[in-house]
Amino acid sequence: MAKLKINGKLVDIDVDDSTPLLWALREQLGLTGTKYSCGIGLCGACTVHLDGEAVRSCLIPVSTLQATQEITTIEGLSADGDHPLQQAWQELDVPQCGYCQPGMIMSAAALLKNNPDPSDADIDANITNICRCGTFNRVRRGIHLAADIKTGSNEGSTKRGEAE
């Protein structure tokens, strides 16, 4: 039995200690926005926030987590689906199949939290999620647009590179 704080709520989860957070989220709590794809912490489809940092939930056994740690999933990123990244993603029609996008958005959200106006190099270094449909250029534009939305800037980021 594990006690976890997920999207602001304390929950009791009855699973084997070694169960990865990903599967506790998906199968115990029905939070299926967090996706399984590789199971080895590479692809990023399972990205959630642990105390505000992006982590690959497929590699974190629930036994290593404390009830004091804040876990945020895509379902808890915003109340009404209106996080600046979600607005930007909607504006630019970023997703294709959409399977990797919750993880992509969670990775980008953690980046924006630490770095409100990331450069292209910052994006390259921090967004390591795999997308087989190939949405990368819109993801990049989406992060820059979200940075603008967040700061209310009309002029756009000065850090936008060419690779859009």
């Binding site: 996706k35 199949c97 959409g98 087989r132 190939g134 949405t135």
Partner: protein
């Protein structure tokens, strides 16, 4: 004169028609946020029975909401939105009130395939159904107008329609689709309707937003892997890792007492599955399950033995001819200069982000399957066969795909397995989800081929003869032999054919294109782009080699062969012009070109790359042009073109499955990487529809991705890379 028709209400259609054996209705089972749930919710929350099916394609609610039925599958390529645009164009409905739903394959069967093909592959979604879906919209529009005219007792010709509002022009009276839909459904559908002239299109050609984005941003979108049904159990599976091998035995007693385990079952003759309360429990137990395999005849199969088989085909006497002109062999004998090169293209895995999965519920007299599929009808056939029931006792509910790329169209092994498991647990829904490792090992791989290219130049450096000998796998021989012509797989020649959707882009006076079919026992499949992926590398890199041998500019060398291929020439010129081919690049940056006709569209690319002294490749920019004839949604075409570079370049840089001991060696994204955002070049997309035809969008550009980059690498390094992927290749300048 009126003809009474049965008016199927929304509720009956969605729920009554999908009754589950045990008396449950589908509505109870629907995942929140799915298209099915949304539609069912709308149906059940409606207060009246005027949610009317006007015809098979169009359902109209009394609040003027229009539901457009889409038979093809959405897997990211945007076909759902594009097809809805086509119907809307003719229907003249209010786009802001358009929603979509999938009819089920079972409904299609019951209604004599009224929605046509469900198959979503070969970039066919729009180009294969544009005529009948537009007609569906036009027929519904005529019925709606007729109903309004009749209610006013005026001639139909005096009425016009715009954005779901019908106006009687002489009097200015108006009504809406929602108000007349019920009456419209009782009108006799016109047999002939005239489709709009493209110049009058209002929504076809517009970069409208996709209809399926919102739920993909919040986690609400339910994919097959996410499905939850009441009482559902979860299964994890392992099939014999050796192709063609069988399951010998397993020791269930070793795992039976592990938490949550419900069953350990053999699946067909080659796999074993653990069924548990949760998938993680099932997977954990499967990892601990002792299994022995009967590896069978392919236990010694290796990449080296396959290469040997293909090498033999490169010079074998007999081969199928796919294209011929003049006398290539004689021309090559008399050539002033002869150029030869051998290329090879490896197996590739589709590696959809969502691993294979299906959920099945089997009882003695009914079988239902929920799955992501590119072909609902084929999924239904697979389900029926595995269930041992007639198709009309089965049903398939399609769910958005977490990637398809060809893996989920011709093959429904995951459905067969899910049903085989569910059959052993009657009345209990079971969700089968593959691990990534299972997905890597049991693909239907991009076919492996090699090509020996021989070109002859005359004394002025003109290409006079070209002989292409392809050796390797046929997809059709393994997957669909009935499509072959006298034993020949014409698909093998995609991009090199004399005419049609995959015609060669050049006129070569003496040409011979052959295929020596060599089929190693690794299952091949349609992999996004199919055979143009390798054929465009063979052709476009070798054309570059020939231009170099002739001492000519690669653009001019190509242009000279393209006088009879004006549309191909136009896209090539467009990328050269936009990239500034004739101008110098930034220091250290080099360009490469490629052009191809694929899936009836004309595509070209100009890549700009640099390679540093340590051999590190950077792809700076790609200029890409597409002429798809009619461009239904330009912003979605841009998305598909950009995405095609990710797919094509991931294959070039990292893709490639190798075989050892009869198994695929790659297990996961660590050994089968995919490119990341940091490697993604800027892509300038030129959408240049010339009209008059309908070309595909989802696949063609993949063909030019790799050769454009390879030709740029040659320009940068002087190295011709002819075997892939590149990640093991020394790119340091020669």
């Amino acid at each position: 004169m009126k003809k009474q028709r049965v008016n199927i209400s929304r509720r009956e259609f969605l729920i009554g028609s999908t009754t589950v054996g045990a008396g449950f209705s589908l509505g109870l089972y629907l995942p929140p946020g799915s298209g099915m749930a949304q539609a069912a919710e709308e149906a059940s929350s409606a207060t009246s029975e005027v949610n009317t099916e006007v015809n098979a394609w169009v359902v109209i609610h009394d609040d003027d909401t229009v539901i457009i039925r889409i038979a093809r599958s959405e897997m990211g390529q945007g076909t759902l939105t594009g097809l809805a645009q086509l119907v809307t164009e003719e229907l003249e409905c209010d786009w802001s009130k358009v929603r979509t739903e999938y009819p089920t394959p079972g409904q299609s069967l019951a209604r004599d395939r009224i929605w046509g093909s469900f198959s979503t592959g070969g970039s066919q979604g729009i180009r294969g159904s544009h005529r009948y879906v537009r007609k569906g919209g036009a027929v519904a529009r005529e019925m709606l107008i007729e109903a309004a005219a009749e209610s006013w007792d005026v001639p139909k010709e005096e009425c016009s329609v715009s954005a779901s509002v019908i106006t009687h022009k002489p009097t200015g009276r108006t009504t809406t689709y929602g108000k007349v839909a019920a009456a419209a459904a009782e009108m006799i559908p016109p047999i002939e309707v005239e489709l709009k002239d493209p110049k009058d299109w209002k929504i076809i050609g517009k970069p409208v937003k996709r209809l399926d984005t919102a739920d993909k941003l919040t986690g609400k979108q339910v994919f097959g892997a996410d499905l939850q049904l009441p009482g559902m159990l979860n299964a994890s599976i392992r099939a014999c890792p050796v192709f063609g091998g069988k399951l010998a035995s397993f020791d269930a007693a070793k795992v039976n007492k592990m938490p949550g385990i419900r069953a350990v079952v053999a699946v067909e003759d080659n796999a074993v599955a653990v069924v548990a309360d949760t998938w993680w429990q099932a997977k954990t137990a499967l990892d601990a399950l002792p299994v022995t395999w009967d590896k069978g005849a392919n236990a010694d199969l290796s990449s080296a033995s396959i290469a040997q088989m293909l090498d033999e085909g490169l010079t074998a006497k007999k081969a199928f001819v796919g294209n011929t002109a003049g006398d290539a062999k004689t021309a090559l004998k008399g050539a002033a200069k002869k150029v030869e090169a051998t290329y090879a293209y490896p197996f590739q895995n589709h590696a959809t982000m969502e691993p294979m999965n299906a959920t099945a519920l089997w009882t003695e007299d009914r079988c239902e399957v929920w799955c992501p599929t590119q072909n609902g009808e084929a999924a239904l056939q697979a389900a029926a066969k595995a269930a041992g029931l007639p198709a009309d006792k089965c049903e398939v509910y399609k769910i958005h795909l977490g990637g398809g790329f060809g893996r989920r169209g011709a093959f429904h092994d995951f459905v067969t397995q899910a049903v085989a498991i569910a059959k052993q647990m009657p009345g209990t829904p079971v969700k089968l989800l593959w691990t990534r490792e299972e997905d890597m090992q049991h693909g239907h791989y991009h076919p492996i081929t090699k090509a020996k290219m021989v070109g002859g130049l005359d004394n002025k450096g003109n290409l006079n003869g070209l002989h292409i000998r392809i050796s390797g796998q046929s997809i059709l021989a393994a997957v669909n032999p009935s499509w072959m012509q006298n034993g020949v797989d014409m698909f093998t020649f995609q991009g090199l054919l004399p005419d049609g959707d995959h015609a060669i882009s050049y006129t070569v006076p003496n040409l011979l294109v052959e295929h020596a079919m060599r089929n190693p026992p690794v299952p091949p499949g349609f992999w996004r782009g199919v055979n143009v992926n390798q054929n465009a590398i063979y052709m476009e890199c070798f054309i570059d080699e020939l231009a170099h041998a002739a001492g000519k500019d690669p653009l001019e060398f190509r242009r000279k062969l393209m006088a009879d291929h004006p549309k191909s020439l136009a896209v090539l010129d467009a990328v050269a012009d936009k990239a500034g081919w004739s101008k110098t690049t930034e220091k250290g940056v080099f360009r490469g070109l490629a052009v191809c006709k694929a899936f009836a569209s004309y595509v070209a690319a100009c890549a700009e790359v640099s390679v540093d002294d340590s051999g590190n490749l950077k792809i700076h920019r790609i200029v890409a042009a597409t002429d798809p004839g009619h461009a239904v949604n330009p912003q979605q075409i841009e998305a598909q073109v950009e995405g095609s570079f990710v797919f094509g370049l991931s294959a070039l840089l990292y893709g490639g499955c190798t075989i050892k001991g009869g198994s695929v060696e790659q297990q996961n994204f660590d050994s089968y990487p995919s490119m990341l955002i940091s490697e993604m070049p800027k892509v300038d997309v030129i959408v240049m529809p010339s009209g008059g035809f309908w070309g595909g969008i989802g696949e063609p550009t993949i063909a030019v991705a790799a050769p454009a980059v390879l030709n740029a690498i040659f320009a940068a390094t002087g190295k011709r890379i002819r075997e892939f992927p590149l990640n093991n290749t020394d790119l340091r300048p020669a």
